[in-house]
């Protein structure tokens, strides 16, 4: 093989040419690197049964439990699957977060980050690769939940445009949660503890209007449920899918998503520079 057995002078010249190529393609390099990282992270997800179980199967199990076991006991004024589907779309997102946190933390703590650093891989690519992979798995989980919902009797009068808007808001929420999770993953000292840092994010939707109306919750909890970020996101989805969209909820939802994504991004960047 000529590339590995070539005389040293030859290889030196080659590595210089490559150095030149790199500087010429600095604009496209971060994007290319991020795409390479995305492919790597998607392989990780597909090869880790725990991640797939948590991210895709768990929300489905939860959906079946809620609709067939608990749901009858909640008086929501309509067929329970009709009420719960928007909330379950959010739960499909949050259940996939622990996998991302663990995988970010593994990268940061197990030496491979040093390899990437020494290779001149654009720093942001490592993180955007994780965000993009999480977004893909969230999209799959949301699609599965919507498919299941229809199979269980969910019906929507929403127009194509309203569906598009609903999916857009759900993905915006997934994007925001992904950046916050990446930050938590970098912040965690070990992959084991990284899995725990996202537990509050997983629990938060239960204290919103996701599975039961906030109005029926106890004093204190009710106020929290009404003003926490997941409620406007879920209510805007509910409105869009029921065919009576609410501009107010949608604006609040998008504002929360933008804010959380920005905080997650800035926190990720700051911790990454300090840690790596």
């Amino acid at each position: 093989m000529s590339t590995t057995t070539a005389p040293s002078t030859d290889s030196r010249i080659k590595s210089h040419e490559r150095g030149g190529d790199r500087t010429m393609s600095t604009i496209s390099a971060p994007l290319t690197d991020a795409r390479i990282m995305l492919r790597r992270n998607l392989k990780h997800i597909l090869r880790n049964p725990v991640t797939i179980f948590n991210g895709v199967l768990m929300p489905v199990v939860l959906m079946l439990l809620l609709v067939y076991v608990f749901g009858g006991a909640f008086n929501v004024g309509e067929h329970y699957v009709q009420y719960a589907t928007p909330g379950l779309m959010l739960l499909a997102i949050t259940y996939g977060l622990s996998g991302t946190a663990v995988s970010v933390s593994s990268d940061m703590t197990k030496g491979i980050i040093n390899r990437f650093k020494v290779m001149n891989v654009s720093r942001g690519a490592v993180l955007t690769g994780h965000v993009a992979a999480n977004l893909v798995s969230s999209a799959v989980a949301i699609a599965v939940i919507i498919g299941m919902a229809f199979a269980l009797g969910f019906r929507s009068p929403a127009s194509g445009l309203e569906w598009l808007a609903a999916i857009g808001i759900a993905l915006a929420a997934a994007f925001a949660a992904a950046w916050l999770t990446v930050a938590l993953g970098i912040f965690a000292k070990t992959p084991e503890s990284a899995g725990l840092t996202v537990v509050p994010l997983i629990l938060l939707p239960f204290v919103s209007s996701a599975v039961a109306p906030a109005a029926k919750m106890g004093e204190g909890v009710r106020q929290f449920a009404q003003f926490q970020p997941f409620t406007p996101i879920i209510e805007s989805l509910r409105g869009l899918l029921d065919g009576h969209p609410s501009g107010g909820y949608a604006a609040a939802a998008l504002a929360w998503c933008a804010g959380i994504a920005l905080v997650g991004y800035l926190w990720s960047r700051a911790t990454f520079i300090k840690r790596a």
């Binding site: 093989m1 590339t3 590995t4 057995t5 005389p7 040293s8 002078t9 290889s11 030196r12 080659k14 590595s15 210089h16 490559r18 150095g19 190529d21 790199r22 393609s25 390099a29 290319t32 690197d33 390479i36 790597r40 392989k43 990780h44 090869r47 880790n48 197990k110 030496g111 491979i112 040093n114 390899r115 990437f116 650093k117 020494v118 290779m119 001149n120 891989v121």
Partner: protein, 317 residues
């Protein structure tokens, strides 16, 4: 064009502290291009910190470092294009196969896809990993992981390769394989910066050795120069009582007795002829030894000779 005819790595007055702890206290190094340079020292001496500084992973607190003619502080990116690093803990991706790990390196280096595939195939062959190429790295043995790790480093054919304790924890056979690989690299004109805890490893591979102890360089030279500063090999005998020990000490010239441990240390070149002579002498005087062992100088002897204290961390603290 980089001038590689002189120094591949030049270090002057390198200092690094973590809080109050001085990890590197003014290190000077000069590594000639195309050679193996070994930094020898026990755990905690500062070897990994040195590698991390030289490879731009952490910033120094003082001193200047030039790698392939580039200043590591001002031209970190240029440094990274000519170096490769294989750290103490194999930095391979466990969930990817051996082949995918190498392909990932080729992709991140933006090699054209044809060239990338070629490099991956030839590295798998060269490191005897072709059979396991489609298994995930998580299933690899320690030796295979190190080989894969080094193969990943070689994807771009770096001019200067840093190997941080590449054989620590490997079985003897894997260690030999790694030594052969390192010799091949140097034969190809690569400069190798090797850290190790094993005197034998430095002796086998390096043309120049620097001994690091608690952040200071305590000795530097060729393996032969270094070994001359170290007491030679010896034979150790253990006896069942003091009488036997005393008798043996009298009849064996140049020996030193340790009454507390009932052991006797006899200088010896370790050769068959001199060992037979020694055993015959014991036989002549009807002295019976409980235990008999031949010692060649190891890192502990080097440290005792050079610093006056043993290399182990417990002994230091």
């Amino acid at each position: 064009m980089i001038d590689m005819t002189t120094s591949a790595i030049a270090v002057q007055g390198l200092r690094k502290t973590y809080g109050d702890k001085i990890v590197l206290d003014g290190i000077d190094l000069d590594v000639a291009a195309g050679t193996v340079f070994s930094l020898l020292g026990p755990n905690g001496a500062g070897k990994t910190t040195t590698v991390n500084v030289l490879t731009t992973l952490i910033k120094a607190d003082g001193g200047t470092v030039q790698v392939a003619g580039h200043d590591i502080a001002a031209e970190a990116k240029a440094v990274r294009t000519v170096i490769g690093v294989t750290g103490q803990f194999a930095a391979v991706d466990d969930l990817l196969t051996g082949q995918e790990n190498l392909q990932l390196m080729a992709d991140l280096h933006h090699l054209p896809s044809g060239q990338g595939k070629q490099v991956v195939t030839s590295l798998l062959e060269r490191f005897d990993l072709t059979e396991s190429a489609r298994k995930t790295a998580a299933t690899y043995s320690g030796g295979m992981r190190r080989k894969l790790d080094l193969a990943m480093t070689l994807v771009t054919r770096p001019q200067i390769i840093f190997l941080d304790e590449p054989t620590t924890g490997l079985d003897p056979r894997s260690r030999r394989t790694m030594w052969d690989i390192i010799r091949d690299l140097v034969a190809d004109g690569v400069t190798v910066f090797l850290t190790t805890q094993y005197l034998e490893e430095a002796d086998q591979l390096a043309s120049q050795i620097a001994v690091l102890d608690q952040g200071h360089l305590v000795a530097e030279g060729t393996p032969d120069q270094l070994k001359r500063q170290v007491p030679g090999s010896h034979v150790q005998l253990r006896f069942s009582d003091v009488t036997a020990l005393d008798t043996a000490a009298r009849v064996l010239n140049g020996s030193t007795a340790d009454d507390a441990n009932l052991t006797l240390r006899v200088p010896s070149d370790g050769g068959v002829r001199s060992l037979r002579a020694l055993l015959n002498r014991l036989d002549e005087h009807s002295i019976d030894a409980e235990e008999f062992s031949v010692h060649t100088p190891d890192l502990d002897d080097v440290f005792l000779a050079l610093t006056g204290h043993p290399s182990t961390e417990e002994a230091i603290s």
